[in-house]
Each structure stands twice: as C-alpha cells, then as structure tokens.
C-alpha cells in the first residue's frame, strides 16, 4: 500500500515532496529528534562513553528485569497462539456464527488497554469475581492471591494481545484454496490429517505474523504489568519509567535503547518471512 508508488505526474515534479514535507518536518521535530536526543543520553551522560552499556552485564537488576520481560513475552505469545489458533479456525469456518465470533473478538480489541487491565483487576482482586465464586462454591477456604502476581500479568496480557494473534492467522486461513482440503479428504485423509498436513502448513505465514506481532508488542508492555502485576516482577518498560521518575536519564536512555534494539532486531530478522510485511499494517486495531 504505502510502499507502492504511483508516478502519475512524473518523478521530476516537486509537488510530492511539498505535500509530504509538513508531516515529515512535524514528525522529525516532535518525535524523531526528541527520541534520538533522549537515546543519546545513554552515551553522553555524564561524559561521552559507553560505560552505561559496559555496566549492563554485571547489573543484576537489569539482568533480572530483562529476562523477566523476555520470559513474560514468550509465555504470553505461546498462550495467545494456543488460544488464538482455534478461534481463528472457527472464525474462518463458521458460517452462521461468524459475525458473532467476529464481534466477540473485536469488542475487547476496540476497548482501551487501561479499561481491559481494570477489568482484570475487578475479576482477580482479593474480593474479585474469581475468588468470590470459588469461595461460594466451597472450592476455597481462603481467597487466592491472583492479583499482583506474574500469573495475573500473563492472563491479562494474553487477553489484550489475543486479537493480534487471531486476525493475522484468520487472514492466512482465509487465503487457503478450499479445494485443497476437499482434495485431501477425497483422497482418503482424515479431517485431522488434512488439518495437520494441508491447513496447518499453509497457515504458517499467518502464525509467524501473529507470533512476531504479539511478541514485539508484549516486550513494550507497561500499563498492564504495572496495574495487575507483581511488585517484584517488573518489566523493562516499568524500570524505564521508574528511572525517569528518579531523573536517571543516562540509565533510562540505555534501557530504552536496549528495548528498542531488541524489538527492531526481531522485526528485521523476521521481515523476509512470508506474511510479515503485512503484519504491522494489521496493527491498526
């Protein structure tokens, strides 16, 4: 879309540049330069050196937070894939129920992350719905501690990121020629075998796109872990915010650079895979 050109009026005209210039100048001034200047603090604070980066391998706080962030992202991505694939399949195969399934996916998708995290606070709190139900059913003696644990973060993040997994997979499934599945079953394959040997391999571009999208978005999560997560299991984003509050700009900038580099490296590594190019345009809710 945006990458495809249409040189209707010849490439020599200055008009296209004039049209794009206001936005490019705006984004340079209010977004790119601020972010780059901030990131420069990681090598210029207090003097020009790489000391902030050199200190990271021995920085136990950073090590713990970085691995916790990666670990959370892996768990959330696996969870979203396991829950997302069956729903994507159902969405594509259902006829009468397809609109309802789509609404049930889009309704939470269109609700803000803050409101959805709040919803999980209501559900998982000490006197929340989950505890009250289990207590009333006599399955518990004491309320369980769910809120402010790593599990709470993982559940809420899977919930929030699930549509980002479902939609690319459904997209890939929709593009599979239905005659292939018919041919497989006509040749005697069981439905399970047809799925495993025909549908699943052909849906892989969608799976790759969904996995990358969910993983990269999970890496940068801030609001949800801060609201429902444990006080000790902080994420990289939370550590960055904390350091800014304490005005440790050099350290905050170093952590930001690491977070950004991790996200960009993953995307760059996967960009050539089929289906990935379109994945980030799906990031439009």
């Amino acid at each position: 879309m945006i990458m495809s050109g249409r040189d209707a009026r010849g490439p020599k005209s200055l008009m296209p540049l004039l049209l794009a210039a206001p936005l490019l100048a705006f984004m340079l001034a209010f977004y790119a330069l601020p972010v780059v200047t901030m990131l420069m603090r990681s090598v210029s604070d207090p003097v020009w050196s790489l000391s902030h980066y050199a200190a990271l391998p021995d920085d136990t706080v950073f090590q713990k937070v970085f691995w916790n962030t990666l670990y959370t992202s892996v768990i959330v991505t696996v969870g979203a894939l396991l829950l997302g694939y069956p729903v994507a399949l159902a969405l594509v195969r259902a006829r009468r129920w397809a609109p309802l399934i789509l609404i049930l996916i889009l309704l939470p998708f269109w609700t803000s992350v803050l409101v959805r995290s709040y919803a999980w606070m209501v559900l998982m709190g000490r006197h929340g719905l989950i505890n009250e139900t289990l207590l009333a059913a006599g399955l518990l003696e004491q309320p369980l501690r769910i809120l402010n644990t790593p599990l709470a973060t993982q559940i809420a993040m899977v919930h929030i990121l699930l549509p980002y997994m479902i939609l690319p997979i459904a997209n890939a499934l929709r593009q599979i020629d239905p005659s292939l599945a018919r041919a497989a079953s006509g040749l005697g394959a069981t439905p399970w075998r047809t799925f495993r040997q025909v549908i699943l391999p052909l849906s892989m571009p969608g799976v790759a796109a969904g996995v990358l999208l969910v993983f990269v978005l999970a890496l940068g999560f801030y609001i949800t872990p801060a609201m429902v997560g444990g006080p000790r299991e902080i994420t990289l984003s939370m550590l960055i915010a904390q350091q800014v509050d304490q005005l440790n700009w050099g350290y905050a900038a170093t952590l930001s650079a690491i977070l950004l580099a991790t996200a960009l490296t993953l995307i760059a590594a996967c960009y050539r895979l089929p289906g990935i190019g379109t994945a980030f345009r799906m990031n439009t809710r």
Partner: protein, 263 residues
C-alpha cells in the same frame, strides 16, 4: 451437533467467553448499587453514573480528553492526508525513508516514545500543557491516517485522474473533484482512528500531563492507585460505548469501501 464437533465448539466457546467476559463484567458492575466492588451486584442503579456526571474532578479531564482528541484529529488528518498524497509519488528511495519515519511509532515501544517526548518537551515548557499532548498524540495517530489514506489511494484507477486532466481540469480541480471524493472514506477512517488513539492514550499522558493537563485515562490511572470504586466502572463503560461505536463506524466504512472496490 455430533460428538466429534462438540469438543472443538466448547473449546472455542470458552476462549470467546474469556475474551468478552471481562468487558461484560465492567459494564455490569457500573450499574451496581453497592458502594464496593462486588459481582454480581446486589441491586442495580445509576449511582456511579450520577457520581461521574456530578463530579467536576471527572468532567474536567473528560472535556480535556475530548478537546485534545479533536485537535489531534484535525492535525493528524490534515498532515497525514497531504503526506499520503505526496509519498505515493516520491522516488522510491525517498519513499521508503519517509514511510519508515511515519510508520515507526507502530513499532517503537510506546514507553520509549513517551520518555523521548517528555525529555524534549520539558525543556520547552510543553509538559502540563494540552498543546504538548496534541503534538505528541498527533505523532502516534499519523501512521493510522497515512496507512488508511494510502490504501484508498492505491485503489483509485489512475485513468480517472488522467481523464480529468486531459479534459482540461486543472490539477487543483482534479484533486478536489476527482481524487478527494474517491479517498474520502479512507480519510474518514483515518480520522476515527486518530480520535481513538488520542482519546485512549495513557503512557504519553503519564509523562506529559503534569498537573495542568490531566486527561481522562490519566485521571482513571491516578484513581486506580488509591481505590477501585465503581465510578471507574461507569467511566470505563462510557468510554467502551464511545470507542466501540467509533471503531464500529470505521470498520463498516472500510468494509463498505472494499465491497465497492471489488464490485
């Protein structure tokens, strides 16, 4: 339904329940008559809605959020539409660089954007000012406008513009009478996305709001630190209704547009 289909249907049903249930709970709790959070509510009432509409502490941030979102829509739609028109005709190398800059807020973790903007804006006195929020939100909203308008532009048959030009229309006339009507749905969808992006935005607001420009999500966040009384459920329900309505409009508009194009 036969037994072989019962299991997968149940599994999918449970996952869909997991997706929709939290939202339903918030909406139900907002109509609770209890002074504390409990589900199901002992009785129903509108007390949390009257608490919201009767409180200047909630209404002020609401108006600010609407104002900031409206200003973001104007700025992002104007700049984004112009840029989309230009980018499609840029030489390839320049086009890739420009698209990379414009789309990068979709990939860069929002905390990095937020503290970068905070770092720069605090020097120019833009922290605690609605203007700072509008400028920052516009940067976050622009990718949605540009992708949406670009998609509309890509679907236009270039012969329509060539025909207008060869029949003697000026480039300006061609734009306003041919191109703009054709991309209008794309512009509208982009504007709706820009509104929601700003209205729901929290991470940038956490840093830029200060005490002088507290937006609605920021006000909710501050409240959640101390208590989770059902007023937030009422506010949440109102924002769910607003955003789902606007996103629904955008969704239908886009579907409608795709159908026209493939017809």
């Amino acid at each position: 339904m036969n037994a072989a289909r019962l299991l997968p249907t149940t599994v999918v049903g449970l996952i869909l329940l997991f997706l929709a249930f939290p939202i339903v709970v918030v909406v139900v709790v907002s109509f609770s008559s209890a002074t504390y959070l409990t589900f199901p509510p002992p009785a129903f009432g509108l007390r949390w809605y009257s608490a919201y509409f009767g409180s200047e502490d909630w209404l002020r941030p609401t108006w600010l959020s609407l104002w900031v979102a409206a200003a973001t829509v104007v700025l992002a739609t104007l700049l984004g539409t112009l840029a989309a028109l230009g980018i499609a005709r840029l030489p390839r190398a320049l086009r890739v660089v420009a698209a990379g800059l414009i789309l990068s807020p979709l990939i860069v973790p929002v905390i990095v954007v937020a503290i970068g903007i905070y770092y720069a804006f605090s020097r120019y006195g833009l922290v605690g000012s609605p203007i700072g929020l509008v400028l920052a939100h516009t940067c976050l909203a622009v990718p949605f406008v540009v992708t949406s308008v670009s998609a509309s532009l890509a679907g236009i048959d270039p012969r329509l513009e060539q025909a207008a030009l060869s029949l003697g229309a000026t480039p300006g006339g061609t734009f306003f009478q041919v191109t703009l009507p054709l991309i209008r749905p794309g512009v509208l969808v982009g504007a709706l996305f820009a509104f929601i992006t700003s209205f729901d935005e929290l991470v940038v607001a956490l840093f830029l709001s200060g005490s002088g420009a507290v937006t609605l999500p920021r006000r909710m966040w501050d409240d959640l630190r101390f208590q989770i009384d059902p007023t937030i459920a009422a506010v949440s329900t109102l924002t769910i209704v607003l955003t789902v309505f606007l996103m629904g409009c955008a969704h239908l508009l886009r579907k409608h547009n795709e159908r026209i194009r493939t017809a």
